[in-house]
C-alpha cells in the first residue's frame, strides 16, 4: 500500500495521464479505438518533436519561442528545394537551417547576453518574414514529388512513419540526457551556469548545442508537418512555441533549468494531446481549445513557481 502511495506521489503526472485516459475511454465509445489512438499519436508527433528539442533548451535554463517560425521556414525551404533539386539538397538545407538558427540564437544569448526570450522573439519575426519572402506574398508551396507526402503519412503496421520518427527521437533524447556525459553536462549547465563553468564544463558549448538541437528539431518538425499536410505555408505553426512550452512545463521540466527529461515531456505531450482529443470529440471549437492551451500554460507555470517559492521559504 505504502509503495503504491509513494509511486503515486513520485509520478503524479503519469497518474493524471492514466485518469484522463480512462475517463476519456469511458465517456466516449470512439476513444478506445485503434484509429483514434493512432490519430492522437499522430497529432502530438509534430509539435512533440519541437517539444523534445525545447526540453533540451529549457533544461539549460533558456527558451526558444522562434520554433514555430523555424518550422514554417524549413517547410517552405524544404518543399521548394525538393521540387527543383531533390531530397538530398533539401535535407542539407534543413540541417543548415537548424544549425544556423541555433547558432544565431546562442550567439545572441551567450555572447551578446540578450535575454533568450527577446532574442528568439526577434528571430521569430525574422524567420517568418524570410518564409514570406521566399514564397512571394505568402502563397503556400506545394510539393511536386509523390513520395514527399509519404514521409509522414506512409504506414508500417498501420502506424504512420511520423509516429515512429517521434518515438525514436524521444528514446534517443532520453538516452542522451540520462546516459551520456553530454547529457549530464547539459543538466549541470542549466543547474548552475557559474558553478558548471568553474567545474570545467564547457558551458558555452553545451548551451550552443542545446540551441542547435532545439532549432534542428523544429526544422525537422517543419518538414514532417508539411509532408503530412502536403503543403508548406509561411503562416503555419504559429502556436508551436506555446504548445511545446506547455508540454515541457506540464511534464515537470522547471523553467529555471537543471531538471526534467524527454520522458516527462512525452507525458506532458500526451496529457495535452488527450485533452485536445477529448475536446475534439465533444465538438469544442479550436478557438476554445486555444484559450484552454493558453490558460494551462499560465496555470502550470504559476503552480510550479508557487511550489518553488514555498520550498525556498521552508529551506531558508
Amino acid at each position: 500500500m505504502k509503495n503504491i502511495l509513494n509511486f503515486i506521489k513520485s509520478q503524479k503526472l503519469l497518474v493524471v495521464f492514466i485518469v484522463i485516459f480512462l475517463a476519456s475511454s469511458f465517456t466516449t465509445k470512439y476513444f478506445f479505438s485503434f484509429t483514434n489512438i493512432i490519430n492522437l499519436l499522430t497529432q502530438v508527433s509534430t509539435y512533440g518533436i519541437v517539444a523534445i528539442g525545447m526540453t533540451f533548451i529549457v533544461i539549460t535554463g533558456e527558451f526558444d519561442i522562434s520554433v514555430g517560425s523555424v518550422m514554417a521556414l524549413s517547410g517552405v525551404v524544404v518543399v521548394s528545394l525538393i521540387n527543383s533539386y531533390g531530397l538530398a539538397v533539401a535535407m542539407l538545407a534543413l540541417i543548415a537551417i537548424g544549425f544556423i538558427v541555433g547558432l544565431i540564437n546562442s550567439l545572441l544569448v551567450i555572447k551578446v547576453k540578450i535575454n533568450s526570450f527577446i532574442a528568439t522573439l526577434g528571430g521569430m519575426i525574422f524567420y517568418r518574414g524570410i518564409a514570406f519572402l521566399i514564397t512571394k506574398d505568402g502563397t503556400p508551396v506545394l510539393p511536386k514529388v509523390e513520395y514527399y507526402n509519404k514521409i509522414s503519412t506512409g504506414t508500417l503496421f498501420n502506424i504512420p512513419f511520423l509516429v515512429y520518427i517521434f518515438f525514436i527521437i524521444v528514446i534517443i533524447s532520453e538516452f542522451i540526457l540520462k546516459k551520456t556525459t553530454f547529457g549530464r553536462n547539459i543538466y549541470s549547465t542549466g543547474c548552475n551556469y557559474e558553478v558548471a563553468k568553474f567545474a570545467g564544463v564547457n558551458v558555452v558549448f553545451y548551451k550552443t548545442a542545446a540551441f542547435i538541437i532545439c532549432s534542428t528539431g523544429a526544422a525537422l518538425a517543419g518538414l514532417l508537418m508539411s509532408s503530412r499536410l502536403n503543403t508548406a505555408a509561411p503562416i503555419a505553426a504559429d502556436d508551436a512555441a506555446l504548445s511545446a512550452l506547455s508540454a515541457v512545463v506540464l511534464g515537470g521540466t522547471s523553467l529555471s533549468g537543471g531538471t526534467g527529461n524527454a520522458l516527462k515531456t512525452l507525458v506532458g505531450l500526451m496529457i495535452l494531446g488527450l485533452i485536445v482529443n477529448a475536446l475534439n470529440m465533444v465538438g469544442i471549437s479550436s478557438y476554445i481549445q486555444l484559450a484552454i492551451k493558453g490558460t494551462l500554460l499560465i496555470l502550470f507555470v504559476s503552480i510550479e513557481r508557487y511550489f518553488q517559492n514555498r520550498a525556498q521559504a521552508v529551506s531558508s
Binding site: 519561442i65 535575454n115 522573439l121 526577434g122 525574422f126 509561411p234 506555446l242 499560465i298 507555470v301
Partner: protein, 324 residues
C-alpha cells in the same frame, strides 16, 4: 573622481537620449532624399496616423518595461478591446462600449499583474505568463467574432478618433501626444513614478526600503492594458472595422520601438521621450519601406533585425559603462 564619474554619467545620458534623436533626423533626411513624396504634409500626417496605434501600445508597455517586467499580451488586447468597442456600440451606445472596452483592457492588466506578483515572478516568468495570456485573449477575440471581421461603426464621433483632424493635425496623434505628456509627468515627476523606477532597477532593494512592489507592478500592467484599449479604439476607428487578429505582432513592434528609443530591457531607466523617439523612428522606417513598395510581411525581416540590433547596442552601451 566622483565628479569625473558624474560628468561621465551625465555625458552618457545626453549621448543616449540624443543619439537616437540624431538617428531619427538622419533617417528623415535620407527618406526625403530617396523619395520626393516623403516630406509632404500628407505623408507626414500619414506617418503620425500610422504610428499612433503602435505608439499608444508602446507608451503603456514602457511602464511595464521600466518596472522591470514585460507584457506580451498587448497585441491581442488591442484586437479584443477593438472588437468589443465596435460590436457593443449598437447595444449599449458609443460611450458605454468604449467604457466597457477600457475596463476590459485594465482588467487584463490587473489579471496579468496579479498572477505575476502572486508567484513572485521574475522577468522571465512575466514573459511566459503574458505569452500565455496573449493566446487566451486572442482565443477570446476569435470566439466572440467566430473568426470573422466586424463591420465598422456608423457613429461619426467614434470614427473621428481614428480619422478626424483638428485643424491639420489628426485627432489620433493629439490623443497620443496628450497621453504621452500625462504619462511622462506621472512617471518623472511623481513619487509613484519614482517608485516604479526603483522597482525596475532593483525589486528586492525597493521592497526593503518599503515600496509596495506588488502594487506598483500591478499598476504598470493596468496602465499597459488601458493604453492597449486606447490603441484598439484608434485602430478600429481608423480602418472602421475590427478583426480578431488586427493586433497581431503589435507587442513585438512596440518592444522594438521602446528598445530602439533607448529604454533598456533590464528596467529602471529611460523615459517616455525615448519611447516617442523610438516610435517615430519605426514609423519613418515603415513608411519609407511602404513607399519603396516592400510588403508589410516582408518588412518583418527588417524589423526583426532592428529589434535584435537595438538590443545589442543597448547591451554594448551598458558594457562600456561597466554595468553589464
Amino acid at each position: 573622481m566622483n565628479i569625473k564619474n558624474n560628468i561621465k554619467l551625465y555625458l552618457n545620458t545626453i549621448y543616449r537620449s540624443y543619439t537616437m534623436l540624431l538617428a531619427l533626423i538622419i533617417l528623415i533626411a535620407l527618406a526625403s532624399i530617396l523619395s520626393h513624396s516623403f516630406l509632404t504634409v500628407q505623408n507626414i500626417t500619414n506617418i503620425f496616423r500610422q504610428v499612433s496605434v503602435m505608439g499608444c501600445v508602446a507608451l503603456g508597455m514602457s511602464f511595464v518595461i521600466i518596472g522591470g517586467s514585460f507584457d506580451m499580451s498587448v497585441g491581442s488586447t488591442v484586437s479584443l478591446t477593438g472588437i468589443l468597442a465596435i460590436s457593443l456600440q449598437p447595444i449599449v451606445g458609443v460611450f458605454w462600449a468604449m467604457a466597457i472596452s477600457l475596463i476590459v483592457g485594465v482588467s487584463i492588466g490587473l489579471i496579468n499583474g496579479t498572477i505575476i506578483t502572486s508567484i513572485n515572478g521574475t522577468q522571465g516568468d512575466s514573459f511566459i505568463i503574458t505569452f500565455g495570456m496573449l493566446t487566451v485573449i486572442q482565443a477570446v477575440a476569435l470566439i466572440i467574432t467566430k473568426g470573422f471581421s466586424v463591420p465598422g461603426s456608423n457613429n461619426k464621433s467614434y470614427i473621428f478618433i481614428g480619422n478626424g483632424d483638428i485643424g491639420v493635425i489628426p485627432f489620433s496623434i493629439i490623443l497620443f501626444v496628450v497621453s504621452a505628456i500625462i504619462m511622462q509627468i506621472f512617471i518623472t515627476k511623481t513619487s509613484h513614478g519614482r517608485n516604479i523606477y526603483y522597482m525596475g532597477a532593483n525589486s528586492e532593494v525597493a521592497k526593503l526600503i518599503g515600496i509596495k512592489v506588488k502594487f506598483y507592478k500591478i499598476i504598470t500592467y493596468m496602465i499597459s492594458g488601458a493604453m492597449a484599449a486606447v490603441a484598439g479604439f484608434i485602430l478600429t476607428a481608423r480602418v472602421n472595422g475590427a478583426a480578431p487578429k488586427a493586433g497581431v505582432n503589435l507587442e513585438f513592434e512596440a518592444v522594438t520601438a521602446i528598445v530602439v528609443g533607448g529604454i533598456g530591457l533590464k528596467g529602471g531607466e529611460g523615459t517616455l521621450v525615448n519611447t516617442i523617439i523610438g516610435v517615430l523612428i519605426m514609423g519613418v522606417i515603415s513608411n519609407a519601406m511602404n513607399i519603396i513598395g516592400i510588403s508589410s510581411q516582408n518588412q518583418l525581416v527588417v524589423k526583426g533585425i532592428i529589434l535584435i540590433a537595438a538590443v545589442c547596442v543597448d547591451i554594448r552601451k551598458k558594457g562600456i559603462m561597466g554595468e553589464g
